[in-house]
């Protein structure tokens, strides 16, 4: 029993870590641009797909392959902002929110169609074997542990970037007061593009872990985007770190309910969301 609990906690934390990573990216983007990016889940799907393609071609460790994706997805997110999001920023308030939902949803559908056209609609997964770790009577998958380590390292790296660098501080300043940041000399438009780049890296990295742990199809993107929106609402809109907590809670809940009552795991997630919002209307850290 103890072994099962530990396994569930590991898989729950890993699953939660995947949620947290991608949701953190979405929270950064929303904080800086006030744009609800419904294409976020597509970048996760594409991250998974690209690492699958690279893995099939090389058979290298998929976690190492993910390092190649970092500059690629930074560029993709950066250009996505420049091309599709920047023109919307002339609009204000709810007009901006609605316009951003329409444009990013449109982009999502296009990405979904293109990927299923070129790479087919079937499920893809990477089954990469690594020697397991034996601890007493427990066997722990080392690729899962390594995945967790990667997630923690990435999160810490983004955290240090936000705290210690000029650009990172400017990013946080922009989320807190856009005009104030501009008046300090921050090019808030450039910060917007950089933030999309970083957010997209986080989504694609989550995609790498996703394709190792589960399988991907071209159709997972939009439902995932919606799940990430729920997570950042649960964490508190405008709170960057609330999304990490929200993601972890969701992942662990899903893993535990998924084991004991598989059909209820998705529902449990939404129960938790509603419960948290009833108790704390502004989210966990909002």
């Amino acid at each position: 029993m103890a072994s099962i609990i530990v396994q569930l906690l590991i898989i729950g934390t890993l699953q939660g870590g995947i949620y947290a990573l991608a949701a953190f990216g979405l929270a950064l983007i929303f904080g800086v641009s006030n744009v609800l990016n419904l294409a976020h889940g597509q970048f996760l799907m594409l991250g998974g797909l690209f690492s699958y393609i690279l893995f099939m071609a090389t058979k290298w460790n998929p976690l190492l392959l993910s390092l190649i994706l970092i500059p690629l997805f930074f560029g993709l997110g950066f250009l996505f902002e420049r091309g599709l999001v920047r023109p919307l920023l002339e609009r204000k308030g709810h007009e901006l929110v609605i316009a951003s939902i329409l444009v990013t949803l449109g982009a999502s559908l296009a990405i979904e169609d293109i990927t299923s056209f070129f790479w087919g609609p079937e499920e893809k997964g990477i089954s990469y074997m690594m020697p397991s770790i034996q601890m007493g009577s427990m066997v722990i998958s080392s690729i899962r542990l390594l995945g967790l380590l990667f997630i923690v390292l990435l999160t810490v790296a983004v955290h240090l970037f936000l705290k210690k660098t000029y650009t990172g501080r400017a990013l946080r300043a922009t989320t807190q007061n856009r005009q104030g940041a501009m008046l300090m000399g921050v090019n808030t438009f450039r910060i917007g593009s950089i933030t999309f780049g970083i957010g997209t890296i986080l989504a694609s990295a989550a995609g790498v872990f996703y394709v190792i742990l589960f399988t991907i199809t071209p159709f997972i993107g939009i439902p995932l985007s919606i799940k990430y929106l729920c997570i950042i609402v649960m964490g508190g809109l405008g709170s960057l770190y609330g999304s990490l907590l929200g993601g972890l809670i969701l992942g662990i809940t899903e893993a535990i309910t998924g084991y004991f009552a598989p059909h209820w795991s998705e529902t449990a997630a939404f129960f938790i969301l509603v419960a948290i919002l009833l108790i704390r209307p502004k989210g966990l850290l909002g």
Partner: protein, 234 residues
């Protein structure tokens, strides 16, 4: 140093500034007086590049700046301390000051600037690790000024810095404005607090309904009948 020439600004269809002309010479303190809704904030937001002008030109150090983005204008040393402070509430006092020194221009000798700022505002130094959003109103205003100074202004524009401060603090604030000016920073001071603004400034402009209706030496404006009736309550 700063020349605003025949500038008109609109919000949509509503015109807020009409053929506004003013100038600030190096080393001066100039005050821009006006009651609520006169167009003071509109004026300095236009100078800062936040708003776009419909007509006219703005020159700073001889260069035309009215086509520039706000962040480029900051790199030229033209800094605004905005109405409502616009601090970064979830960042510490120290991080807010670091953000002040964000521009490339301000990053050089930022330690010296910080020493000077701490000398002007010793209270802030004790509060470096505190979140800016948890400071008192007076402390927040001091932080806003300190953050602006960290940007190494050649010309500093302050938008109603005395708003919401207790009388004692207001007196201290105007003293600090003079001290900053003695440190060779030119100042454009937007105020409703006409008495103290005119005592501190060398010259003044009076703005009503988006038009400059009067300008001159502070000592002359204090004697002016219209100013006395409308702004000094005499």
């Amino acid at each position: 140093m700063l020349q605003v020439q025949d500038v008109s600004v609109c919000y949509g269809d509503i015109q807020a500034l009409f053929n506004l002309t003013l100038q600030v010479e190096t080393g001066e303190i100039v005050t821009l007086l006006g009651s609520n809704g006169a167009g003071k904030t509109t004026t300095i937001n236009t100078i800062s590049g936040i708003l776009h002008l419909r007509q006219g030109a703005i020159l700073f150090d001889g260069k035309s700046i009215h086509q520039m983005t706000p962040f480029r204008i900051v790199e030229h040393g033209l800094i605004q301390i905005p109405e409502g402070r616009m601090l970064f509430p979830d960042m510490t006092v120290f991080e807010n000051l670091q953000m002040g020194a964000y521009s490339i221009r301000a990053r050089e000798n930022r330690q010296e600037t910080l020493d000077w700022v701490c000398h002007l505002f010793p209270r802030l130094m004790e509060r470096f690790p505190q979140l800016a959003g948890t400071l008192s109103g007076g402390e927040q205003q001091m932080l806003a000024i300190a953050r602006g100074l960290m940007s190494k202004p050649k010309l500093l524009m302050l938008d109603e810095p005395s708003l919401g401060l207790a009388p004692l603090l207001v007196a201290e604030l105007f003293k600090i404005v003079s001290q900053i000016n003695q440190h060779s920073v030119t100042i454009l001071l937007v105020e409703q607090n006409a008495v103290q603004a005119l005592e501190t400034a060398h010259r003044g402009y009076v703005l009503e309904n988006g038009k400059i209706i009067l300008h001159g030496k502070s000592s002359d404006l204090i004697q002016n009948d219209h100013v006395r009736a409308s702004y000094l309550g005499i």
